[in-house]
């Protein structure tokens, strides 16, 4: 039985929250550079170069790349032979988020409850999903998920007869409706299958895969490629001001589902696709 201390988790989470907000991932940065070569609109090109400059400033000065420093979302892979000492895993993650956001001068965007809407002041609570896995390691995947793109996300229970075409139409429709609001160029996360709540989770989980990395199944990978092309023909472009770069990538995760069901969820991510992974134990 491997032991991991509460304090160590707090420390790692604090670091992840700040790094996610200050240092744009190499995958996103390269995608901007690549898009600059292919973008057809002058305004689109100007926007992409501003995004590159913005990432450079954020990294150099260690300041948030976006003022919406997001909801801290975690997917935790907890090895079943791993034990947390000194407190609970959930408390440790929340303490790390509170410390990381306060010390890093990151914005607190979380409120106690959706009706009274009073800010918690330290960006907790985090949204935490725990998956129990084999082994003795603890892996934390974190994303700072902005509100603008999350607000334009959508889920639909399609009919099995809608098929692959129905999935494609729906994904394109969500991207079209979102237009400029979700801060394109986007990373489009798609969940297919599972049930109502699993499908949304799959869409979110897909966003943790780095840009440019295709799904391991050829069928799904081909669908990802096809959707990237179709989305980039919509004309929405950077910031929705017209152009040929609407999606930097499309990610799909799929799972078993009921014979009567074809759930599809589309979780949009803005171009600040901020994800971090830390492995402990």
């Amino acid at each position: 039985m491997k032991e991991i201390s509460f304090a160590e988790i707090v420390h790692q989470v604090e670091f992840m929250c700040q790094k996610a907000n200050f240092d744009l991932g190499e995958d996103v940065y390269s995608a901007f550079k690549k898009a600059l070569q292919t973008e057809k609109s002058d305004t689109g090109k100007e926007i992409l170069s501003q995004l590159v400059e913005n990432a450079d400033i954020a990294k150099r000065d260690q300041v948030p790349m976006c003022q919406d420093t997001g909801t801290a979302v975690f997917i935790v892979e907890l090895g079943q032979d791993c034990r947390i000492t000194g407190g609970s895993l959930i408390d440790a993650i929340n303490e790390g988020v509170a410390k990381g956001y306060s010390a890093g001068y990151l914005r607190s965007s979380m409120i106690y409850d959706p009706l009274n809407r009073k800010n918690t002041g330290n960006n907790t609570p985090a949204v935490i999903h725990i998956e129990l896995v084999e082994g003795s390691q603890l892996t934390l995947h974190m994303t700072a998920k902005g509100g603008g793109a999350e607000n334009m996300s959508s889920l639909k229970m399609l009919k099995p007869s809608d098929g692959v075409q129905g999935i494609k139409d729906y994904v394109l429709d969500v991207v079209k409706v979102a237009g400029p609001n979700a801060c394109p160029p986007l990373v489009v996360g798609v969940g297919i299958g599972g049930n109502f709540e699993r499908c949304a989770y799959l869409a979110k989980k897909s966003l943790f895969r780095p840009i440019g990395v295709r799904h391991s199944s050829k069928e799904i990978a081909d669908l990802e490629e096809e959707l990237i092309q179709q989305i980039n023909r919509l004309g929405i472009g950077p910031q929705g001001m017209g152009g040929s770069t609407t999606a930097l990538d499309v990610k799909i995760e799929s799972e078993a589902c009921h014979i009567a069901a074809l759930p599809v969820a589309v979780n949009l991510n803005c171009h600040a696709s901020r994800h971090q992974t830390v492995q402990m134990g």
Partner: protein, 184 residues
Amino acid sequence: MPINIQLPLTEEHVRTLRAGDRVLLSGTVYTARDAAHKRMAESIREGKPLPVELTGQVIYYVGPTPARPGEVIGSAGPTTSERMDLYTPALLEKGLKGMIGKGHRSEVVKQSMIDNEAVYFGAVGGAAALISRSIKASRVIAYEDLGTEAIRKLEIENFPVVVINDIYGGDVYIDSVAKFRQDK
């Protein structure tokens, strides 16, 4: 080449600007987002004065990150404008001439912009570290209890925006997107 504009916005500015124009704004703007708009709308409904005289002014939809010691402001990019749509026509009727944000406006707001001769500018969402470099001064002037959502008076210099909606019905999100569309 971008057009340089010294704020406040005049009638002439507003009549000259066209959807798609790239503009560098300098001068004073006021920040306000969801919670501040809700309060201003309540004041208007109750016949109370607003904390800012809006004639000719520009509101920037932003909730900045906290400023570090010695900094003017934290990162300060635009938030999604449509959440302010419900409250916007009343502000336009009070003389508001410009708004900076990102994303679609409702048909009601677009019509109100035409009727009241006001423009909507888009800033680059997610370019908040870069944008904050063009903010030279920041002071909370109302609703301090709202924290990041308080109303701030900002002095900006060469703040980069694009005209999204002009007073002639032009809309970049419709017109420019149509130009680059290849699926039909």
